[in-house]
Every structure is written in structure tokens, then in C-alpha cells.
């Protein structure tokens, strides 16, 4: 059984973020990066499944050289090999372009299962999983909080709105987007860390894929990244206490909408 896990590298939670001068992304100098939270749970779920059923865990990430760190972290935790997608042409992608690149790579991997986190903690799109599943012509289940694999089928518990859950079964191959909290991600063991450097990290660029360049041109582009701008406006209410009280309630309910 082969399980592929998609991991995105992000600035570490708690980083002090500064917006870049061009207002198109954050300033990445001096930032510490780590794996997207729900991707860490996806990796753990894959490792647990491998330990129970046997097989291979392949981790995949797209991004600049620093992305090698999250791949190595995953190898140290027990993933078997890694694929690093890296090409200057892929600096600006939207979800569809990213999904097409991932599909071109994963098509060759013939995965039985593809796991990814529910969504990334930076842009929060949550689109890569479903798009990739469609491109690979396999079913997908999102918001997975429990998995049970048996006889070529997987039964998953899926989180719904309002505290509800449902169980879904699917035939392999299938793609799952994993919700944070499904398991307890492990620490890399010392033996795992020492074994890491002997494992393969395959570098893949645009020239290695059978994918025309127009397939990853972003159809959606980020216009401007900014911290919410505060506007301060003082309203003076006048009249008798009763009138001021009524106006205040009206303002809070209908204008400020705090209730």
C-alpha cells in the first residue's frame, strides 16, 4: 500500500509577520517555518496506517529550498521517501495550478491513499484536496476525523456542521483531507532523525513533468495583502437619557451589530 501525504510549509505559528513592501505576501526573512498544522495530523494518520497495514509513506511538498525542512521532518518521523517540487516558474500559483502539478506527479506514484490537511493555515482555501481528487479521477472525503481501513475499502468519520458527524465508506484509491485533532502527531525519534539523511528526497521541476506551462498559470491572483484597517468614528448621542439610551441600543444592534 502506498500513502502519499501532501505537506505545506508555513511560517511557524506565533511568528511576528510583517507584510512585504509590494503588499503581495509577508516578509519571509528571519521567519522560522514549520508544517501546516492539519498536514501534520495527515502525516501521523498515514504513519499509523503504515505501521498497522504495512506499505510506504511518500511525502510531497511544493516550494523553495526551505521546503526541504518539512520533508526532512517527515522523513525523520518515519516517512519512507519525499518528493520536493521546486521550480522558479511555480512561484505564484493558485489552487488549480497547484492541483494540476500535484496530479501530474502523483499520477505516476499510483497511490492507494492520498492524505492532506483540511486546509492551510495561511490562505485557508481548502481546495487542493478536492481538485486533486477530481484530476486523478478518484473519490475524496473532506473533514475526516477518523479512519478505518479494511479489505480495500476505507470507512471514515466526517465532521459536519453543528456538531454532527457522518460515516462514509469509499473504495481505494481515495483522497482524504484530514482535520486537526484526529490523532496525536509524534515527535521525531532520535533513531528516525539519524536515519533521515539516508532517505531519498527527489527533486522535481517543471521540466520533469508532462504538463504544459499554461496549466499552472494562475487564474486567480492576490491583489493586496494588508492588516485590517481600523477606522475610528465617534458618534455623539444627544437628547434626554431615555432618548440617548434608545439611540445607543439602536446603534449597537443595527450599526455596530454587536448582538
Amino acid at each position: 500500500m502506498r500513502i502519499c501525504v501532501l505537506i505545506k510549509q508555513l511560517p511557524d505559528t506565533g511568528s511576528a509577520l510583517k507584510i512585504r513592501a509590494d503588499e503581495l505576501w509577508v516578509d519571509e526573512d528571519n521567519l522560522v517555518f514549520s508544517a501546516n498544522e492539519s498536514d501534520s495530523y495527515a502525516l501521523e494518520e498515514a504513519l499509523l496506517m503504515k505501521e498497522a497495514q504495512g506499505g510506504e509513506v511518500v511525502v510531497v511538498s511544493l516550494g523553495p529550498e526551505r521546503v526541504g525542512q518539512v520533508l526532512k521532518d517527515a522523513l525523520a518521523k518515519g516517512a519512507d521517501r519525499a518528493i520536493h517540487l521546486h521550480d522558479p516558474a511555480w512561484e505564484v500559483l493558485d489552487s488549480l495550478g497547484l492541483a494540476r502539478i500535484m496530479a501530474a506527479v502523483l499520477k505516476e506514484e499510483q497511490c492507494d491513499l492520498i492524505f492532506t490537511g483540511l486546509q492551510s493555515d495561511d490562505t485557508g482555501d481548502g481546495q487542493l484536496g478536492p481538485m486533486l481528487a477530481e484530476l486523478l479521477d478518484m473519490p475524496h472525503v473532506t473533514l475526516v476525523v477518523e479512519t478505518e481501513l479494511s479489505d480495500g475499502r476505507i470507512k471514515v468519520k466526517q465532521e459536519l456542521e453543528g456538531g454532527w458527524f457522518q460515516y462514509v465508506t469509499a473504495q481505494l484509491p481515495v483522497l482524504l483531507t484530514i482535520q486537526s485533532g484526529i490523532n496525536k502527531p509524534r515527535y521525531a525519534s532520535l533513531r528516525g532523525i539519524m536515519a533521515m539523511k539516508h532517505k531519498e528526497i527527489k527533486a522535481v521541476g517543471a521540466g520533469d513533468l508532462d504538463l504544459p506551462a499554461d496549466q499552472w498559470v494562475a487564474g486567480r491572483t492576490l491583489q493586496r495583502l494588508y492588516v485590517p484597517e481600523k477606522t475610528k468614528e465617534t458618534v455623539f448621542l444627544e437628547g434626554s437619557p431615555q432618548e440617548v439610551g434608545a439611540a445607543l441600543v439602536d446603534h449597537l444592534v443595527n450599526t455596530a451589530k454587536v448582538f
Binding site: Y187, M196, K197
Partner: protein
């Protein structure tokens, strides 16, 4: 940005470490933060050892970490091993002591002085935490001068009979095996693996400790304990055996003490930033800053010291006197850090809500065990003057 150590790294020592070494520090750091810190205060208060941590530490490879993978180790560099010790002691000296004993005083002598059968039988179970070990050298009347040891090993047919008493034995009553050092009839020091349950062997706990309260400390009583020749460590004859083990353990302590100092420094820095007096945080006052800067400076110097110590060890160039210098300095500075951090915390500092008194009390033991501060001074004194001043 390249990978960075977690915690204070004022001189960018991350740049001098391998990627594996930094990841090792991350694992140990995150483990201590998530698994040790939430439970350690209660164990210290209750005087109990957090045994639930043992399987987790074994699974992560902390037990026997510097030994080769073939015998159950992780094959860490000396610096990697040191970083683990440092992080564990950031949690509590008791946790680092447990791991130090298992690694340096039990697995190391079996690996270095043991027979193939002994290595085969014991090392992997010790690495998995299924077997706990302890080390018996110090005696009620014999501390700094182990040459005066009174525990005897008498030949008896094909085997041996051990008689005597050992004291201040970390892990004693929870240990499955004890490495016991005793003099034979020719006054040569020999090492033996004594199993729990051997006739005449007992390990009563020492009670009333106000230090290392989360660690088990016991006596070992040996009343005509029969031990097979196959349980004698064949490669050890003379005091060099146990002293080699102590050099290993002291090496871990030199690193570990930095962890205790870091815990105190980080607590003091955070507290000073939050505690307001005279209308502003106390971190803005010169006297507080002087204390914080002293701590950071000493921690940074200590980090540099052990890093070079580790690299010398990796190159096989390490002298035991250099380990004495590092153990002596680093425990001393950690002990002062604990006091300065407590001062910054004012009255709050005496409460166990903060880690300062726990580390301060622990460090009183660390200052004295594995060679007292004073003995390390004399070791260094002899080394630089050529004149022994021990007697």
C-alpha cells in the same frame, strides 16, 4: 532561514550544529515542554518519580542514545547526546539524572567493559526501558575517595560473593540491575551486574530529600550476595572502570546544568516583563537587567564550553580534566542563575508555581554529585600545577 535551536541562542550556535543535532534538540525540547513540564511540579511536591515518562523516552531513543544502533542505540554524536541532556534538565534534574544513569553508568559500562553475552542480554532491553539500571560506587563512608571503598567481592567456587553497602544510588529501588563496584581479595576494583531479587540484595529508598525529589534515591545493601562469574564485567579491573563511567556522566551533567539555568532564565525574563512596580515592568529597571544579562552571558559561555567539549569528545581528544572544568563551571553558574531568577520573582519565586526553587534545590545535589565542585577544583589544580592537593 536555516534551522534554529529552540531557546536562547545569543551567539548563533545553531550555525555550528548539524541539521540532525538541531532536530534532536527540537525533539527533546518539545517532549520536555509537552510531557515533562505539565507533571513535574506535582511529582517534585509528592516526592515521586514520573515512571510514565520512561516508555516515551525509550521510544524516542533517549536511552542509550549515543550507542550504536546495533545494540539498541541511536548513534548520536556527543553533541547530540549533550543537547538531549540539556533539554531534559530544562524539565528537571531528576529526569536528566535518570537518563544519565541509564546511559552513562549502566549501558556505557556494559557496552565498554561487558562480555558479548552481557551486551546481548542487557543493552537492547535497557534501551527499550524494559530494564532499568543503577550504579553503585559511593558508600556511606566513601564519597570523594572511591579508592577507600569497603564493599568486597570474595571468590566463592566459580562465582563471587559481594558484601557491603552503597549509598545515594539514583534509580536504586526501581532498578532491575545494579552495576556494583567492589574490591576483590587482591584489592582490585571489579564491576558486577547484580540482578534485583538476588539473595541478600536489597535497595531501601532514602527518604527526607529536599532535592531531586522527582528522582528515586536508594541504598544498596549487599549481604553475602552470590554473583556468577558471568555477571562480572570482564573488561574492568581497577578504579579506571568506574571513573571512566563518571567522566561520561559528568559530560552529560555539564550540558544538563545549562538546561536548568535556561529554565530559570526564561522564567525570570518572562516574569520581569509582566511584573509591574512603580508603574512599569521590572524588566525596565537596571538592577533587574543586570541579573538577566548575567544569566544570559553565563548561559552563552557555558553553551560554547560544552559545544567544544562535545567536539573534542567526538574526535577522541577529550581529557577528563576538561570535563571537570565544564561540570564545575556550568553547575556553578546554573546554581547562581536559580538564585538570581528567584530574586527577580520576589516573594512569588518561593512558590512551586514557578520552577526556581525546584531547580535551585535540585542543583544543590548536582553541585555535589558526580564529583563535588571542590574535587573538580582539585582535579584542575593538579592538572595545571602538577601538584595533587587531595590529601
Amino acid at each position: 532561514m536555516s534551522r534554529q535551536l529552540r531557546g536562547p541562542d545569543y551567539l548563533a550556535l545553531s550555525d555550528l550544529l548539524t541539521e540532525e543535532e538541531i532536530l534532536i534538540q527540537h525533539t527533546a525540547h518539545d517532549f520536555v515542554t509537552a510531557e515533562v513540564l505539565p507533571i513535574i511540579t506535582k511529582h517534585f511536591r509528592d516526592g515521586t518519580f514520573p515512571a510514565t515518562l520512561v516508555p516515551q523516552m525509550a521510544q524516542l531513543g533517549f536511552l542509550g542514545s549515543a550507542l550504536p544502533p546495533e545494540v539498541g542505540g541511536a548513534g548520536l554524536s556527543a553533541v547530540g547526546y549533550g543537547l538531549v541532556s540539556q533539554e531534559l534538565e530544562r524539565g528537571d534534574s531528576a529526569i536528566r539524572s535518570f537518563v544519565s544513569v541509564q546511559n552513562s553508568l549502566v549501558m556505557f559500562p556494559i557496552f565498554t567493559f561487558g562480555s558479548e553475552d552481557q551486551k546481548e542480554r542487557w543493552l537492547k532491553p535497557l534501551a527499550r526501558g524494559e530494564v532499568i539500571g543503577c550504579f553503585g560506587l559511593t558508600e556511606p563512608d566513601v564519597g570523594s575517595n572511591p579508592a577507600a571503598m569497603q564493599t568486597r567481592a570474595r571468590r566463592d567456587g566459580d562465582g563471587w560473593v559481594l558484601s557491603g553497602a552503597k549509598m545515594w544510588i539514583t534509580n536504586g529501588s526501581i532498578a532491575d540491575i545494579a552495576i556494583v563496584w567492589a574490591k576483590d581479595e587482591e584489592d582490585t576494583v571489579r564491576g558486577f551486574i547484580v540482578e534485583r531479587g538476588s539473595p541478600g540484595f536489597s535497595a531501601p529508598d532514602m527518604t527526607g530529600k529536599l532535592s531531586l525529589r522527582a528522582s528515586v534515591t536508594s541504598e544498596l545493601l549487599l549481604d553475602e550476595v552470590p554473583v556468577a562469574e558471568s555477571s562480572r564485567l570482564p573488561g574492568a579491573a581497577g578504579l579506571g572502570g568506574p571513573l571512566n563511567c563518571l567522566t561520561e556522566a559528568r559530560y552529560g551533567i555539564a550540558w544538563g546544568a545549562i538546561g536548568a539555568a535556561v529554565a530559570c532564565y526564561e522564567a525570570a525574563l518572562e516574569y520581569a516583563g509582566e511584573r509591574t512596580q512603580f508603574g512599569r515592568p521590572i524588566s525596565g529597571f537596571q538592577l533587574t537587567q543586570e541579573k538577566l544579562v548575567w544569566m544570559l552571558t553565563e548561559i552563552t559561555k557555558a553553551q560554547l564550553l560544552v559545544l567544544q567539549l562535545g567536539r573534542l569528545k567526538e574526535q577522541g581528544k577529550l581529557r577528563f580534566q576538561q570535563v571537570s572544568l565544564a561540570k564545575r563551571n556550568n553547575v556553578w553558574m546554573a546554581r547562581v542563575c536559580a538564585r538570581l531568577a528567584r530574586e527577580i520573582h520576589g516573594a512569588n519565586g518561593i512558590m512551586d508555581e514557578y520552577p526556581l526553587m525546584r531547580h535551585m534545590m535540585n542543583l544543590e545535589s548536582v553541585y555535589t554529585y558526580e564529583g563535588t565542585h571542590e574535587m573538580h577544583t582539585l582535579i584542575l589544580g593538579e592538572d595545571i600545577t602538577g601538584q595533587p592537593a587531595f590529601t
